[in-house]
Symmetry: C2
Subunit: 212 residues, 2 copies
């Protein structure tokens, strides 16, 4: 058994598309499309800013992505609406299998390693009631996943060798970035998607957190 | 006037979606969807591999992305079909305004700066008949756009100071990466999209190459 289990947050423990209902309330019929595009742009901006060496915190990147997506979809966004939607990110729904899965695994060290900046991540975790040994943000490194130094942060902060860490993510590219770094990885493939072609394969592929 | 004009290739001078017809011939009715997803994944893989420090040439990344997309869309791909589609990338259509625009601008040095590896880029440019002073590939740097060292390559190879180079791209994130580096940039916004929120704005925005 691994001495530590390190979880991605957004998409893995927390459902980023739980913002859809609020999007739909603001712009009826547009929630699903906005939620999808928002997530896509949010990730693109993390990769592009990392490569440009123009890091900004995830809270800024997320708000910038929202602004872009509303402009692209022709949805009128004002500061009030943006605040409302950004607030949703502080109380995203846990996946139904997240809490019980973590309780069952308490024999190992349990941590989150996330792109989220502390201003987003800390309130989210507090609101969820999850019990964790560490909540780690890329923020202090000013670089986003899948840069290897991000995964190294978990080794350093947990003081566990990388061979004894299993990394769990529903974002395949994140799981493969962690694999490339040297973790044992589990890809949570809820949607039945193919494995990304990035030169690595996950050690395990599960349909959800329950069977971890 | 700028002493050098540096063009992005894929999407700017060459229409990456000219593969659509061939995709459609192989899988009737699926061409547009495959072509779109293929381009999206191709770019994601360039960003992710750059951050993972696992560079592979654009030809490999492009073929990997094709493989992923066919699996995701449930399209049966064999080596023959993959070869056929990869061959299309060697003779992508020029945008109708590309050749005349470049002819008009011959007072300046004209170059391409592309993610394309030489095995893809050189045959493509040769097939197009475009006359250029330099065709530069990121390949020797083993890093993809929008990393700043990519744009530096144009400065070094053209021996023109960056203040005297105008960079032209239809990929907004690429134009903004070049702006962040220090080029004057022109974004070719054929689709009327919003400007990406990456902390920079293009110096000029044009609807096509004709008015350059």
């Amino acid at each position: 058994m691994s001495r530590a289990l390190v979880f991605d947050a957004y998409g893995t423990l927390f459902d980023v598309h739980s913002v859809r209902a609020r999007c739909d309330a603001l712009w009826p019929g547009k929630g699903a499309q906005l939620s999808q595009l928002w997530r896509t742009k949010q990730l693109e901006y993390t990769w592009q800013r990392s490569l440009m060496r123009r890091y900004e915190p995830f809270s800024k990147v997320t708000r910038d992505a929202l602004e872009y997506c509303c402009a692209a979809l022709g949805l009128a966004l004002d500061a009030g609406k943006a605040d409302t939607l950004m607030d949703e990110y502080l109380r995203l729904a846990l996946y139904p299998d997240a809490k019980s899965a973590l309780e069952k695994l308490r024999g190992a060290k349990l941590a989150i390693l996330s792109n989220g900046s502390p201003d987003m991540l800390d309130p989210l975790v507090a609101h969820s009631g999850l019990r964790l040994d560490a909540v780690l943000s890329v923020h202090e490194l000013r670089a986003y996943k899948p840069a290897p130094q991000v995964y190294q942060l978990a080794v350093d902060k947990l003081a566990v060798p990388k061979e004894q860490i299993e990394f769990v993510s529903s974002n395949c590219w994140d799981a493969l970035g962690a694999k490339s770094f040297g973790f044992r990885v589990c890809w949570i493939n809820r949607a039945g998607a193919p494995v990304d072609r990035l030169g690595f394969t996950p050690d395990r592929i599960l349909e959800g957190l329950a069977t971890l």
